[in-house]
């Protein structure tokens, strides 16, 4: 691991394994400051300058760390409960990270250990190995406050098992063996904290391997892995929402932003000094009193975190004159049979800070790499000019960690289609086409759970032109509020103040940044790219004994069809997926339907729904998948260990999650669906044409072996069962 010993702008020598920032984007922080932040991380008040997440960087191809999931107060959130003058720092669950010590299962006190609620960044390079000694020290939960603890086989969830997923990385989903007892990105394992008790064996519906206290991960990053922005988070079915919204997530970067971005004035990589990482998180803090959970009314303490998350915690939009800087006030829903959250607060933070100030001083502006650690909430973001109150134009650089590539002959608005309506596209004034990629500008960005967005942010006038900022120019990064079809409504909150103090001449840019390189989305499909090169480690991998019969390749012209709905539409919350194979004539292949014709199934980790081999010579395989939305609320498709591109899309927007639109029941069944079917159509209704749903069709490249999952990344839906297991095995040829 690189200890980052270099001197920073202030001339201080770092002795720690991470770096942070202040008014410039980067600065080295003194060890003493880090030590002060050891227990709780930095404290901050509203309006303080945004601090970069601490960084652990690889060295000589390895990043070897210990990561301990712990509970600790969040110093950057100061909650005053009603009828009390005492300030409470709510308890978050965070990753305490340090260089791996020679022994033991705890990080040492000192400057090399960090545990920020806002998240840590793991900085990796293609070809690296990420080694993590992972330890669970989370407290157990009140079983009466855990939604799925009464689901079949899930009685141990309250013991708070956890694990780790490196979201978006193209890396093996490897189970341990006698010769290599480490885990790859294997999300079925559950690590229990022995201090919470030993889990009692269940008979059904259990997760994968059950391990006490600690496991070792070894995540190998292929040498031809594209550069980009990714993230890590827990992935235990049933409580993923609880753990993510209580704080467990962080950032992963492969390579640097400059790998895929350069200015249009000079042909040099974008400087790291003008790159900012923003991790958006949200957490609901209760006022205390009785709150209704699935189990019934339960007492709660002032300052307690509601880790089940309730979209109705706040009013969606502020009342006249109400200012929401990094939080919104809890509301009383008791008139609608909901909870009374009066006196509580829903905090929405950037890098753990409440409404920080982002000073943009570089004449060329900054690259913002935005990730979300939200559980079920989708962000609808705008950077609004404080003078004009109009959304400002920014240039879109990357989606889900991969640079946007739009060929010259495609209209910029096509990004809206191929990215699932995530952006509002506007003109990039004065920006000519350079190279083969069309510049794309946007002024509104929707980020569903797990998505990432990278932007070039510099001052622009109301026409979107880049001009020197007037004195005192500022903007506000806003979550403007979003409603998900017939589903949840997420509130509007101001996230950060942005100050434009860009004096001096620009060095890198004239009108735009230029996006694209051999290490971006298109590069993955070029010779030597990760989707065109034989998978080296597969040549020596041992195929499961049943692989030849249970894992046939998808016949040419066939596609897999995935349904998103409920296993029982008459029972709310039975989130589930259905599966069938379709031939080249769009006929369903007999016997392919799982769990049964026209049925959907909630997640069962013992059932592998899809199994496929790599191609002859252990080459990556491309399949076509068709996604059918049966719900009248949005879902967000995510598939581990790969990424996908919309079939027929003229461009290289390769994503690892995709927002699905909503189903539209026809007039004949609309009332029935709304009133008797919890807003969800059945497959039969869809087949009869009574429920309209536009199929989303994707080309998906499989290049990594192992057992993993595809699911809706709205974590309430994933925990509820909208997930299925998939396996990729070596080719027998």
């Amino acid at each position: 691991m690189r200890m980052i010993p270099a001197a920073g702008k202030d001339g201080k020598t770092m002795t720690t394994g991470f770096r942070a920032s202040r008014s410039g984007i980067y600065r080295w922080i003194a060890a003493a400051h880090v030590a002060a932040g050891l227990a709780f991380g930095p404290t901050a008040a509203i309006g303080e300058h945004l601090i970069e997440p601490p960084v652990f960087a690889s060295h000589n191809g390895v990043l070897d760390i210990m990561m301990v999931a712990i509970a600790q107060p969040i110093p950057t959130i100061s909650f005053r409960p009603p009828s009390s003058s005492t300030i409470i720092h709510p308890t978050g669950w965070v990753y305490q990270i340090c260089p791996r010590p020679p022994s033991g299962l705890s990080c040492p006190a000192g400057s090399t250990t960090v545990s920020p609620y806002g998240g840590t960044r793991l900085s990796l390079q293609p070809g690296d190995t990420l080694k993590i000694r992972f330890v669970n020290r989370l407290p157990k939960m009140d079983p009466n406050k855990v939604a799925h603890v009464t689901d079949p086989g899930e009685a141990n969830l309250y013991l708070n098992p956890t694990n780790l997923h490196t979201h978006g990385l193209l890396t093996p989903a490897r189970a341990p063996t006698v010769s290599d007892p480490t885990f790859g990105d294997f999300t079925f394992v559950t690590v229990f904290n022995s201090a919470n008790g030993i889990p009692v064996p269940q008979t059904t519906h259990q997760h994968g391997p059950i391990v006490m206290d600690t496991i070792d991960y070894k995540i190998t990053i292929p040498a031809n892995h594209p550069s980009g922005l990714f993230w890590f988070h827990p992935h235990v079915h049933g409580i993923a929402l609880n753990q993510v919204v209580q704080g467990l997530s962080g950032i992963i970067t492969i390579g640097s932003a400059g790998d895929n971005v350069r200015g249009d004035a000079v042909n040099t990589p974008w400087p790291d000094a003008s790159v900012r990482h923003l991790m958006l998180k949200e957490i609901q803090v209760l006022p205390g009193g009785v709150i209704s959970f699935d189990s019934g009314p339960q007492p709660t303490a002032p300052g307690e975190v509601l880790n089940q998350e309730d979209p109705d915690f706040c009013a969606q939009f502020p009342a006249t004159g109400e200012v929401r800087q990094g939080s919104c006030a809890g509301q009383d829903n008791s008139a609608d049979d909901g909870n009374n959250y009066t006196g509580g607060k829903w905090y929405m933070t950037v890098n753990g800070q409440q409404f920080p100030t982002v000073p943009i001083t570089a004449p060329d502006g900054e690259i913002w790499r935005v990730a979300t650690g939200a559980g079920s909430l989708s962000w609808d973001l705008q950077l609004v000019d404080d003078a004009t109150h109009q959304p400002m134009t920014v240039q879109l650089i990357a989606i889900d960690g991969v640079a946007v590539h739009l060929p010259q002959d495609s209209p910029p608005s096509s990004i809206v289609w191929i990215a699932g309506g995530r952006f509002k596209v506007v003109a990039c004034p004065d920006a000519p086409v350079i190279g083969s990629t069309l510049p794309v500008c946007v002024n509104e960005i929707v980020m569903m759970p797990s998505s990432r967005t990278e932007l070039w942010v510099t001052y622009r006038n109301s026409q979107g032109r880049i001009v020197p900022p007037p004195r005192g120019a500022s903007g506000t990064l806003k979550m403007v509020g979003l409603t998900m079809g017939s589903g949840d409504s997420w509130p509007a909150v101001d996230l950060a103040k942005v100050e434009f103090n860009q004096a001096g001449g620009r060095r890198y840019t004239s009108h735009q940044v230029v996006v694209g390189s051999a290490r971006d989305a298109m590069g993955t499909h070029q010779p030597g790219g990760i989707f065109t090169t034989p998978v080296a480690y597969a040549a020596t991998a041992v195929a499961p004994a049943t692989a030849n019969t249970a894992c046939p390749p998808l016949p040419r012209g066939h596609r897999r069809r995935i349904f998103f709905g409920f296993s029982d539409v008459t029972t709310d919350g039975t989130f589930a997926l259905g599966y069938e194979e379709v031939d080249q004539h769009s006929n369903v292949v007999p016997g392919s339907q799982k769990p049964a014709p026209d049925q959907l199934q909630q997640f069962d980790p013992s059932v592998t729904t899809v199994c496929l081999p790599l191609g002859p010579g252990q080459t990556p395989v491309q399949e076509t998948w068709e996604l059918i939305q049966l719900s009248t609320e949005n879902h967000n498709f995510h598939l581990h260990q790969t990424r996908f591109v919309m079939t027929g899309a003229n461009g290289g927007v390769i994503q690892d999650n995709f927002p699905l639109g909503v189903a539209v029941p026809g007039r004949k069944i609309a009332d029935k669906v709304a009133n008797d079917q919890n807003g969800v159509c059945t497959i039969a209704q869809w087949r009869r044409g009574e429920c309209k749903s536009h199929p989303e069709v994707f080309d998906i490249q499989f290049s990594q072996l192992g057992e993993f999952v595809y699911h809706c990344h709205i974590l309430e839906h994933e925990d509820g069962g909208m997930m299925a297991r998939i396996q990729v095995v070596p080719s027998p040829h």
């Binding site: 889990p199 994968g208 391997p209 059950i210 991998a541 980790p605």
Partner: protein
């Protein structure tokens, strides 16, 4: 109760294991698997076991094992409930590849 049993074993010079171990769990598994129990997956070989006394008068054992027919020697991890029965040991929950 267990302490009394172990004391009794020592007094009458019986070899009574105080806590289940790898060989005890493997033996109990093989007896049950060979009798056609559907509780367990077939052909498993226990490599490691660490048992904890549970208030429910049984032991909860962390078990690491492999499948004998698996050439990759993939490791599986499970928690198994183990209890005394007729002077021997019985697995009260399934030993499953997961």
């Amino acid at each position: 109760m267990w302490q009394e049993l172990f004391l009794a074993c020592s007094l009458i010079n019986l070899s009574c294991a105080s806590v289940p171990d790898v060989s005890i769990i493997q033996t109990a598994y093989e007896v049950e698997a060979s009798s056609g129990s559907t509780l367990h997956d077939k052909g498993l070989k226990v490599l490691k076991a660490k048992c904890h006394h549970d208030p429910g008068k049984q032991f909860l054992c962390e078990v690491m094992f492999v499948s004998s027919s698996d050439p990759s020697e993939r490791l599986y991890f499970d928690i198994v409930a183990v209890t005394r029965k007729n002077g021997g040991w019985e697995l009260k929950s399934g030993l499953c590849k997961r």
